[in-house]
């Protein structure tokens, strides 16, 4: 169709089509979808760890919510349980309300069991609609311990203790001396931290116990004067607490479909007897079990 009339009709069609397109597109959704639309995704925040040195385990649980409102005292829609991936044992945890530092309420779940060193556990926090957050951890296994013979450095007596099979320095490292004044029979516990005095070498951690210096510490703690008879030594032991990899490498935290932290701690100790000549050199009285 040509001519002014045809041209006018063609123009009208173009304009009508343009208006229609504008109206169609103009009706497009214009809200921003802030939240991931999968309601089953990432329901919970969890924080806690399994402690092989305790018979009650704790984990904080909080919902990941659209708003950051103060927590309520209402019961949380969450069932928590752990499964030992080694033995298959399942433990149901119990919710408890705690008052947080700011006065609001928080949900602290507890489970009554003592984790086995070297065993793996899966924590599952499930909502009633089926959405769940899971996390797994492996409790540190018993490390190999090597107690070296006492060595001397000048007049100082030193003993090296090496913990094999750990990839990071421990959280806690204590040497405990069970000692008493000469005239007492009940031993007293004197602790000395060796947390910052060890060194990590590949998968072993070694600390050098300063026996001579610790003897002075013991004497001072017992209130023994130089003229008094020497204190008695009953027992010497070392305690260490190691975390699993999750404590040191955030990428090792295995919280699935949620966020937070779930790790484990192994607590281990070793005791040994000092030879008579060392006890004498330390000017102690030897009451160690023979």
């Amino acid at each position: 169709m040509t001519g002014p009339l045809g041209r006018r009709r063609r123009w009208r069609s173009v304009v009508a089509a343009g208006c229609a397109a504008v109206l169609i597109v103009g009706g497009c959704e214009n809200t921003v979808t802030t939240f991931v639309e999968d309601e089953m995704a990432r329901p919970f925040f969890v924080y806690g760890y399994l402690d092989s040195g305790a018979d009650t385990q704790f984990v904080r649980v909080a919902p990941i919510a659209p708003t950051l409102e103060a927590s309520t005292t209402e019961q949380l829609d969450a069932q928590v349980r752990t499964t030992s991936l080694t033995s298959g044992d399942v433990v149901a945890w119990t919710d408890s309300l705690v008052i947080l530092d700011d006065g609001s309420a928080g949900h602290l779940f507890y489970g009554l069991f003592r984790p086995e060193p070297g065993a793996s556990y899966r924590l599952e926090v499930a909502r009633s609609d089926g959405a769940s957050t899971t996390a797994t951890t492996r409790v540190p296994a018993h490390p190999e311990v090597r107690v070296d013979p006492v060595r001397t450095s000048g007049t100082v007596l030193i003993q090296d203790v090496t913990w094999d099979g750990i990839s990071a320095p421990p959280f806690e490292a204590l040497v405990r001396y069970h000692v008493s004044r000469y005239d007492e029979t009940m031993p007293t516990l004197i602790r000395r931290s060796y947390l910052n005095s060890g060194h990590q070498e590949r998968s072993s951690w070694t600390t050098s116990i300063q026996l001579s210096r610790d003897r002075d510490l013991v004497a001072q703690a017992l209130g023994t004067a130089a003229s008094d008879p020497p204190p008695a030594l009953y027992r010497i032991e070392m305690l260490v607490s190691f975390g699993d990899d999750a404590w040191y490498r955030p990428d090792a935290v295995q919280v699935v479909n949620g966020t937070g932290f779930f790790g484990s701690v192994g607590r281990f100790s070793v005791a040994w007897a000092l030879p008579d000549e060392v006890v004498s050199a330390l000017e102690l009285t030897n009451r160690q079990p023979q």
Binding site: V32, V36, F45, I64, G106, L108, D251, T259
Partner: protein, 781 residues
């Protein structure tokens, strides 16, 4: 670098002989090796020879092809130098001794609609034009005819050559057309938002674009209101936009080049114009200091939207911006000229979501420089010597902290262009020194004062192997001062014209390696980060690099209608991505990313005498990859390799523009559409307990607010963007005075387009609402 060839003809000077170069032996098909040897010899010995000037000639005819004698034909070189003649009995006309540049050819005759044509003249060319006059009916007005054949001949892969007349075809608020208006219609070039002043080209970040004004780089050349650049159309002679694959004469950026050549002021008479509009008011003044020899061009623009906007749109517009431009130009002799250019811009803006915290951003550009152009009388050569200073400073202030950045660059360029028949050699050397002073935070490298320098050379060889086959190959070599390895960047382009130079189809391909030593930092995690900090690439860091590979098709598909399609791939490495602390606004660190962009750009354009329409479509895929701390802002995270679409990417872009001229009336329309931009969604909020000691404090620790981000970075999409702008002008002429009245609408159907969105607070900042505007312009010549 890419500056105006603004040596013009001094009227009345003795003519130079045309065609002398052929007489001394240069000829088509000169071998590349001989050409290079010749160039080297000429550079070393610089003997005297004769320059090559061009001719524009042709015929004036009516619509039936009958020549029209006695038609007034005027040639204007856009700086006010005007030459006129009447067509001969056979309708012929001819203008000789023309220097390279852009000319306007105007033919007018009683009873016919005047015809205007633009001719871009290079060295040693003969341009033939047929000007067809249409009998006057009831409508009067100037009709612009596009030289299709010339356009095809000039078509190059990824290059968009923009002439002043084209800049006026889009509905830009106010009667001060602007380069920005046209840029946003080029497929592959994405204006990130109406506000913020940032462009992304084919997946690159906004700071990877090199913007030159008469060879001087502007670090942030776009105003905070996205309609405007620092370059008003009134001062433009020509703009070459390279969306990729640019030649060796350009360097220092890895994405695109926008090379603006400004025009000179009128050398014949004082000209002035003033425009008053509700967005931006402007004034332009052209003063011929010495007739036909020396001129001054001055331009001033100041925003008024912040004062008028609330009254007309019931909306606060906390934006203020402006630009000042001045150019002095003098013909020193028939073969040399000198120009001095100064440009200054400023922008200030505040972004304040309802009920949210106010963030303000401010930046300023300054550039000053001089250029001496010399055409040896006996050489077909253009030599240029330029020195200029560019400066940029910006600062950002949030509710919790602030950042600032300042960069000053001193640059010197010497370039030579040799014309060897159908071949051409561009050769240049350059040196620059940049000083930086930035304060982005306490993180390592977050604050510094430093200097870096670079120097280098480039060679571009355009070889017309045959009328059907053309190659452009180049090499750019740059050495750096700050322990960064030297950069060697090969570039290349080929063109095949099945129909020869007058054919309708051009097939092309281009590729190149590009490096960028100074980097502009914009936060990828923000939807719209208007703050840019410029920093050097340090010795230990790798220089950002990109590789471009492009294929193109250009075809004239009908009367005044062209189709252009390009497919491209771009691979980017060592991209610096800043990560800011959301609470303190301080720089946490710089992440190194790699990027890949690929896509297709298509443009159909009809440039009729009264009707102009263009449609552009861009389809792209952009992915960035790198080791970054993910999720952002989350505690206890370690760098993880993530892959994502950056927030400046839209998969689909559509642009429709049209202009209809009917007598003194002109109607313009621009509709743009962009698919949603990526952003990172969240699952929700919680209170985070730090992984710390094996004690039981966590039983009652409240924890700090934290966000559970989606596992997929930038997996969400903002709503689509679309907007319609309309304008209508009426032109009234009385003697030497012309008055133009404009009415228009920005965002005609009041689409709420998203500018920024804070996923943590839900605070939303929208782009411009519907804004009616009126403008008045008075031109006096």
């Amino acid at each position: 670098m890419g500056a105006a060839i603004d040596v013009g003809v001094v009227m009345g000077a003795p003519p130079l002989k045309y065609g002398y170069w052929h007489a001394i032996g240069a000829r088509p098909g000169l071998s590349a090796s001989r050409a290079l040897l010749l160039v080297c010899m000429m550079t070393i010995f610089a003997p005297e020879a004769r320059a090559q000037l061009s001719t524009v000639a042709g015929t004036v005819a009516d619509t039936s092809g009958v020549p029209i004698p006695g038609v007034s034909v005027v040639l204007d070189d856009l700086s006010g130098t005007r030459t006129g003649m009447s067509s001969g009995l056979d309708g012929s006309f001819s203008f000789g001794r023309l220097r390279p540049g852009t000319y306007t050819l105007l033919a007018s005759h009683v009873g016919y609609v005047p015809v205007c044509d633009t001719v871009r003249v290079e060295f040693n060319q003969y341009h033939e034009r047929t000007l067809v006059l249409t009998p006057e009916t009831t409508e009067l007005g100037v009709v612009t005819v596009e030289a299709e054949r010339e356009e095809a001949a000039e078509a190059r892969t990824s290059r968009y050559s923009i002439r002043p007349a084209e800049l006026a075809r889009l509905p830009v608020p106010g009667l001060s057309p602007d380069l920005m208006g046209h840029l946003q219609t080029i497929p592959g070039i994405m204006r990130i938002a109406d506000t913020g002043g940032q462009l992304s080209v084919r997946g690159g970040t906004p700071t990877q674009n090199l913007v030159l004004v008469d060879g001087m780089p502007l670090y942030q050349p776009f105003h905070i209101i996205g309609f405007y650049s620092a370059i008003p159309a009134d001062i433009v002679s020509n703009v070459d936009v390279f969306a990729g694959g640019f030649g060796a004469r350009y360097g220092g950026r890895i994405s695109s080049v926008m090379d603006v050549t400004t025009r000179n002021g009128s050398k014949r008479g004082v000209a002035a114009s003033v425009s008053l509009a509700s967005f931006l008011s402007a004034a332009l003044l052209e003063i011929p200091v010495r007739r036909d020899e020396v001129s001054i061009l001055l331009s001033v623009r100041e925003s008024v939207i912040e004062r008028i906007g609330p009254a007309v749109a019931d909306h606060a517009f906390p934006f203020r911006f402006g630009d000042y431009f001045g150019k002095f130009h003098a013909f020193l002799s028939q073969t040399s000229s000198f120009s001095a250019t100064a440009i200054r811009t400023y922008d200030r803006g505040a972004f304040e979501p309802p009920g949210g915290a106010r963030r303000t951003v401010r930046w300023r550009n300054e550039a000053y420089g001089g250029r001496y152009v010399f055409l040896p009388p006996s050489y077909p050569m253009i030599s240029q010597f330029a020195i200029y200073v560019s400066r940029y400073d910006s600062d950002f202030e949030g509710s919790a902290g602030s950042r600032s950045s300042e960069v000053t660059g001193i640059n010197g360029d010497i370039s030579f262009t040799y014309l060897l028949g159908p071949n051409e050699v561009d050769f240049g050397i350059f040196a620059r020194s940049n000083s930086f002073d930035y304060h982005l935070g306490r993180a390592p490298g977050g604050s510094d004062r430093s200097y870096v320098s670079e120097g280098g050379t480039y060679l571009d060889f355009h070889w017309g192997v045959s009328p059907r086959f053309l190659t452009r190959s180049g090499l750019r070599v740059t050495a750096f001062s700050n322990e960064v390895n030297a950069s060697i960047e090969p570039r290349g382009e080929i063109q095949w014209r099945p129909g020869g130079r007058s054919g309708r189809t051009v097939l092309g391909a281009a590729a190149g390696i590009y490096r960028q030593q100074i980097v502009g930092l914009t936060a990828l995690e923000d939807l719209s980060d208007a703050f840019i900090a410029w920093t050097p690439t340090r010795g230990r860091q790798q220089i950002p690099r990109s590789i471009h590979a492009i294929v193109s098709v250009y075809r004239s598909i009908g009367p005044r209608t062209t189709l252009r399609a390009e497919g491209y791939g771009k691979w980017m490495t060592n991209l610096a991505s800043p990560r800011y602390d959301r609470l303190t606004e301080e720089l946490l660190r710089l992440d190194a990313l790699e990027g890949r962009a690929r896509g297709v750009d298509v443009q159909i354009r009809h440039a009729g005498s009264r009707f102009y329409a263009a449609a552009g479509y861009a389809l792209s895929s952009v992915r960035y990859t790198g080791f970054v701390d993910w999720p952002p802002g989350a505690p206890d995270v370690v760098p993880t390799e993530i892959s994502f679409s950056p927030p400046h990417h839209r998969v689909h872009q559509i642009s429709l523009s049209s202009a209809v001229t009917s007598g003194p009336m002109a109607y313009r329309l621009l509709w743009q559409f962009g698919s949603g931009r990526p952003f990172t969604q969240i699952h929700g909020f919680y209170r985070h307990i730090p992984v710390d000691e094996i004690d039981r404090r966590y039983h009652t620790l409240t924890g700090s607010p934290a966000v559970a981000y989606a596992s997929e970075p930038f997996g969400g999409r903002t709503p689509v963007y679309h907007r319609l702008d309309l304008s209508a002008d009426r032109r009234l002429t009385a003697g030497a005075t012309e008055v133009v009245i404009q009415l228009g609408l920005v965002n005609a159907y009041d689409r709420r387009n998203l500018f920024d969105y804070d996923v943590l607070t839900g605070e939303r900042v929208d782009q411009l609402p519907v804004i009616p505007y009126a403008a008045l312009r008075v031109n006096v010549r």
